[in-house]
């Protein structure tokens, strides 16, 4: 660092008279030679000199006496008003503040008059999403359930909401399973297997919708056009309601007009009553097998059904890989093994059908797709992607009437997806058995070509040619989308093109990135592997997944490799800026942590301040369960006050 740079850094300290005599002399010498530093110093000095005289004290002694008397007078008349959202004194103070100037008095009077006259001449306010957002903030419990065909309650959940709007405790019960997640431990009671399994919350965590209020806030942020459609004053089960149609999920939410709270979300009925006492408690029934899987617990051998489940999980992973690689016979064999153990695993059944279809075993494929359609129809959920798949299987089997029925169900959703690509997600997931293995960047790539992929599917079932030369590198032209919409409204005729193979864009998962992901997570959870080697490899392949960089950062921190951890969190920050900016305060805060541990307090503070700036909404947090750390604004504020300490 040059003398100029060094001295420049000392200017503030010099202006504040914090330097030793020797340092101060050095600065003086430099100032005599450097005009730029001299000007900067003069600005600092002027600022500091003038600050001393900012807000000079009054010479009027009465002000102290009258202030005291005002306090005593107010205290004498104090009556607590716990139901007010604004504290009693605050409101009085606010009124006093408003009334202090003539202009604001007039303005306030005018505003009051306007509000009164609006109240007289107009009907009650129109419902908006913000009403539901505000109503959700007062909720403590959510009771959610579905009605089974015979009218019984099914798939019942109780959720306790904490003061930040997030799930505090969770309880789910259906015919075969009871789950209680009380944020300390998770209890899974497999009634069908007469077994209770205990987990630590870091091993398994159940939640319904993490923050229901957030869902509505997000929707409100997107506005009423496009992602949602609000239809006011409809009815739901003979009760007045407003309907919010979520176009992305093709799902309806019904709102009670008086409470503004959801009464139904998709197939679920929603209530807000207090649960029965001890709903989140659990007494282990007599005679059940108890498996305690928590760290440090005495382990006993897993029962056979659990070993089978593990096997099924491993086969499922291999089967997806085989299907993606075109090894259809192997995929069929593996999926059949999975389905034999887990017959209700819908994606296993669906992809079994896909593999069979590719092997021209369409009778078997039809059966598989039919199973999937039935599984969801029981709950009132449509599966247009499964109707598309079954429709094609029928067509290839020569059963054209049945094919037409299925494809006619799928077609309108496919056309809608041209304007709302997120509707197409299930279709892309259905065609990409490795989707869940992809990193954020690859998923983004797939989402970007949703519309192009959907046009390929449409071409196959309609024999129309619109959109012949589409490329994954450019957006689908508006005229192509308009042509499809026009065709649908004027014709919409199903005609399968048996020779057309949809050229769907499905990126390959680079083996090295995927492998790195797996190994990073393994190190973090089980301590297996060499984190320093992983870090080097990640840099070599220029890993583009922010979550893996964060995982590497945590692993390096765990090992005390703080310099490397800092670098990893910096990569995570750069990538998260594009991929998940809402939570970017997480890796930024971690940079602060490791900087504190490295004794670089000033830089750490800068990172915490930056993290706080990026913390956009109260009640958000990022949890690092393995380290017992929950980063929210309060955590970051504390770090500004005291350095991070591993202990």
């Amino acid at each position: 660092m040059s003398t100029h740079e060094k001295t420049n850094k000392l200017l503030v300290s010099f202006a504040l008279e914090e330097l030793s005599e020797a340092e101060a002399n050095q600065v003086r010498t430099h100032l005599s030679q450097c005009e730029m530093c001299r000007r900067e110093y003069n600005r600092l000095k002027t600022l500091l000199d003038n600050t001393e005289h900012v807000g000079q004290l009054t010479t009027d002694e009465n002000i102290y006496e009258s202030a005291q008397q005002e306090v005593f007078e107010t205290v004498k008349n104090y009556q607590p008003k716990p139901n007010l959202s604004v504290p009693y004194f605050g409101r009085r103070l606010l009124w006093r503040t408003i009334m202090k100037s003539r202009i604001t008095k007039l303005a306030t009077a005018a505003a009051v008059l306007m509000i009164v006259s609006i109240g007289v001449f107009t009907s009650k306010p129109v419902y908006g999403l913000t009403d539901t957002i505000e109503a959700m903030e007062k909720i403590h419990f959510i009771h959610v359930f579905k009605y089974a065909e015979e009218g019984r309650i099914n798939d019942e959940k109780w959720i306790e909401i904490d003061s930040n709007g997030y799930q505090a405790r969770f309880r789910q019960e259906s015919n075969n399973i009871l789950i209680i997640d009380d944020t300390d431990k998770v209890i899974v009671y497999r009634k069908d297997k007469n077994t209770v399994i205990l987990y630590d919350v870091n091993q398994k965590h159940y939640q319904w919708i993490a923050n229901l209020g957030k869902l509505f806030r997000t929707l409100a942020g997107k506005g009423e056009k496009g992602s949602i459609e609000i239809e006011r004053n409809v009815s739901f089960e003979n009760m007045p309601a407003h309907r919010i149609h979520l176009t992305e999920w093709n799902m309806n939410v019904y709102i009670d007009p008086s409470t503004k709270l959801p009464i139904a979300i998709g197939p679920y009925i929603v209530n807000y009553e207090n649960p029965p006492a001890d709903i989140f408690a659990f007494d282990i029934p007599d005679g059940v097998l108890v498996l305690d899987k928590r760290p440090g617990a005495n382990s006993i051998e897993d029962p056979d059904w659990m070993k089978d489940d593990e096997l099924a999980n491993r086969d499922f992973k291999k089967a997806r890989q085989a299907l993606a690689e075109g090894e259809y016979s192997e995929a069929v064999e593996l999926f059949m093994r999975v389905v034999a153990i887990q017959p209700m695993r819908n994606w296993a059944v669906f992809w079994l059908g896909k593999a069979q279809h590719y092997l021209h075993q369409d009778k078997a494929a039809i059966e598989a797709f039919s199973d999937v359609i039935s599984m969801f129809q029981k709950f009132g959920i449509e599966t247009p992607y499964a109707h598309l798949a079954r429709g094609l299987a029928y067509a290839f089997e020569g059963l054209y009437e049945e094919a037409k029925k299925d494809l006619t169900i799928a077609l309108p959703v496919m056309i809608q997806a041209l304007r709302n690509p997120k509707i197409a997600k299930d279709f892309d997931y259905a065609d990409d058995p490795l989707y869940r293995d992809r990193n954020a960047r690859q998923r983004e790539m797939i989402e970007n070509v949703c519309v192009m992929n959907m046009i390929h599917r449409l071409r196959q079932i309609t024999s129309q040619k619109m959109g012949e030369d589409l490329s994954p590198d450019s957006k689908v032209p508006e005229e192509v989308i308009a042509a499809w919409e026009n065709w649908y409204h004027t014709s919409g005729e199903i005609q399968v093109d048996f020779d057309y193979q949809p050229d769907l864009y499905i990126p390959e998962v680079p083996a090295s990135e995927k492998d790195l992901c797996d190994r990073a997570v393994k190190f973090l959870l089980q301590g297996e592997g060499d984190i320093s080697l992983l870090f080097s490899e990640a840099k070599q392949v220029q890993l583009k997944d922010y979550s893996v960089w964060s995982a590497l950062g945590l692993g390096l921190y765990k090992e005390g490799m703080y310099v490397e951890a800092l670098e990893a969190f910096q990569y995570a920050e750069q990538l998260e800026e594009k991929q998940d900016p809402e939570h970017i305060y997480g890796p930024i805060t971690w940079q602060g942590h490791v900087l504190d541990l490295l004794g670089r307090r000033e830089e750490a503070i800068e990172r915490y301040e930056s993290a706080l700036k990026r913390y956009s909404r109260s009640s958000m947090y990022v949890e690092y369960g393995n380290f017992g750390i929950k980063i929210d604004d309060k955590w970051i504020q504390k770090r500004l006050e005291e350095p991070f300490d591993r202990n």
Binding site: V54, G55, P87
Partner: protein, 165 residues
């Protein structure tokens, strides 16, 4: 009312709270609002305070925070009231006006600082408290106080550059 302890607290510490508020806000009426809010907040929770409360530190913090909060709530900074004091910029005919304008702008920029920086700046430069005392008041270490103060100074100097030439 209480057994006289609350009244004693108000009598002994009114000046401290009002002076802090006056320095930050430069306006007697707003300073009285801060005074009211601070003590009435204490009164509402009076039963929760034990004999160990360090009132000086508590009230300093509360006064600084409330003052900055109120300043932010105000749509525009109040005009500084006329005071008897020595102007710094006496060599220019409009020295007094210029100084008053600069000080008003310092107040405006002060409340826009990050909260911690604003608090440290008020305590160090307006109240003239030494760093160890500020560190105790804000429950942090001295080095942190220095960092916040330096950043506040740099930021203010940057924002007010044209007025500081």
């Amino acid at each position: 009312m209480s057994d006289g302890r609350f009244e004693k607290l108000v009598e002994e510490h009114s000046r401290l709270v009002l002076n802090v508020a006056l320095r930050v806000l430069g306006n007697a009426e707003l300073a009285q609002d801060v005074h009211q809010e601070v003590f009435l907040a204490i009164w509402r929770r009076w039963g929760k305070f034990n004999g160990d409360t360090k009132w000086n530190a508590y009230l300093y913090r509360a006064a600084v925070r409330k003052s900055l909060e109120l300043a932010r709530r105000e749509k525009r900074m109040p005009v500084r009231e006329q005071q008897d004091r020595t102007d710094i910029n006496q060599e220019r005919p409009d020295g007094a006006l210029r100084t008053a304008e600069l000080q008003r702008r310092i107040q405006q920029c002060l409340v826009r600082l990050p909260r911690r920086q604003a608090e440290v700046f008020v305590l160090a430069r307006l109240e003239g408290l030494p760093y160890p005392q500020i560190a105790r008041l804000l429950d942090c270490c001295e080095s942190t106080v220095k960092v916040h103060l330096h950043r506040a100074v740099k930021r203010l100097a940057g924002q007010l550059a044209e007025f500081l030439e």
